[in-house]
Assembly symmetry: C2
Homo-oligomer: 316 residues x 2
Amino acid sequence: MVGIDEIRNAATRIAPYIHRTPVLTCRTLDERVGGTVFFKCENLQKVGAFKMRGAANAVFSLDDATAARGVATHSSGNHAQALARAAALRGVPATIVMPRTAPAVKKRAVAGYGARIVECEPTLAAREATLDEVVQRTGAAFIHPYDDERIIAGQGTAALELLDEVPRLDVVMAPVGGGGLLSGTALTVAALAPGARTIAAEPAGADDAARSMAAGEIIPSMDPDTVADGLLTSLGTRNFPIIREHVAAIWTVADEAIITAMKLTWERMKIVIEPSSAVCFAAAMEHRDELEGCRIGIILSGGNVDLDRLPWQEKR
Amino acid sequence: MVGIDEIRNAATRIAPYIHRTPVLTCRTLDERVGGTVFFKCENLQKVGAFKMRGAANAVFSLDDATAARGVATHSSGNHAQALARAAALRGVPATIVMPRTAPAVKKRAVAGYGARIVECEPTLAAREATLDEVVQRTGAAFIHPYDDERIIAGQGTAALELLDEVPRLDVVMAPVGGGGLLSGTALTVAALAPGARTIAAEPAGADDAARSMAAGEIIPSMDPDTVADGLLTSLGTRNFPIIREHVAAIWTVADEAIITAMKLTWERMKIVIEPSSAVCFAAAMEHRDELEGCRIGIILSGGNVDLDRLPWQEKR
């Protein structure tokens, strides 16, 4: 079981490889929520996302013999870049299985970090089969994007830094996709700030976590449709029990509100965040009655965006 | 004469009203310059620009009787917003003379900070005449955007924080328009890091500072044409002698390179900077032979951008 000790160990292990990201505040954004918001800027993390924390923790947890055979995963998102970078830092090979339909910019980024890309058909079955084949052939260690205790512990270190820097938070918010960041965050908050509530946010078009919480069991994400493309996946089996125990609420929010929150954050905070990062702030604005006067920590998950295709400029 | 004591006093005076902005680094951007670059993020400053430092210093330097009559300036840029905000913080009126052709978004921002806007024809003569009329009628204190010792001292506090946080810099870079930021930066560096060189950068399409340095006298900016709209003005009479004494070089750079540097900064550093902020990094990339192995501080001046009109999307 992953707990606060594993999260503290992860923080020590990954410290040489990550940025201690700044916590930013903005008066205008506070006014929209009616409380004081402390943004933990994981968009300013290495590879542009909190995923670097979990990936670094997983890769640097491996014993030398295992590490030497390399690591592998299937991901078209930030975990792919993070694992590629972490492997490069350890000096071991990384193989990333990506759907052939993944954006060229993402493939370039992964290749730029020195990983080998193996393309597959854009289905979950094809991803898993291709990954199995890679693992069998190379002996690489499979590092799941979220359903992995080393990943959960690594992602929990963002909240560890946030709580260390900002006292007396009433609420800590994180977005939820597979639940790696959320479960790590919830464990950290429960251990170190037991008076604070962990609240998650997710897109209405990918609301499997809210439905899973309501049902008391994992409801897989079916045909998710949202601009927040980092939050499409279903909850992991290791993540769900932690979330069920330690997360006070999961708020859902429409894509339009996500895009508005994203643009407002760029405009007033002067930072580049991806749509998945804007979901918490969008939800906080809609729940301002509940947040009035609160001190709220929000983990901004990442900033990897195609600057030639911004969502407020797209015909949707 | 403004010197390091005035800059230190300014830092103390304005501390309650400004952000101590983070210093960010990025491996990818380092590689483009061949050195290690420490970006002082004044785009994350209040009102989105370093201008808040000088404006706060000027406004909070006034004695109560003078302050009560208010402050005034002519500006359509970041100084207007900064002065409006600083006056609001002190609880005194601000009047901003703006050309009637100024973008609506800038007028809204200034009005949003509670200032009164007086419109004028878009000529320097009309600006000055309108401002004179305001000052005569209200008794407001005119706070020049850059040709003012209180402003110079305030702007110098960004470099003060940078040098405090980052030891052993070889070079400190700032963009130059009127010279407020550059002169304050150069004074701070000369006093506290005498082994470091202050180097300025400006757009090739507004290269009056480089020409002034070469000529040994102020050459006014005539018909400047550049995407870096914060750097159009001519050097101030109080700024030029400081720059002449303490600035080692002024590098000019084409708009295309500025836009490339701006986009790269957004993409890899995940921060929103305005074109004027990208000029130093653009110049640093072009001068990498001279910067190889150096530790370089770059002051990112601001992040006020129209997100619906990004320069890499415009037909130019």
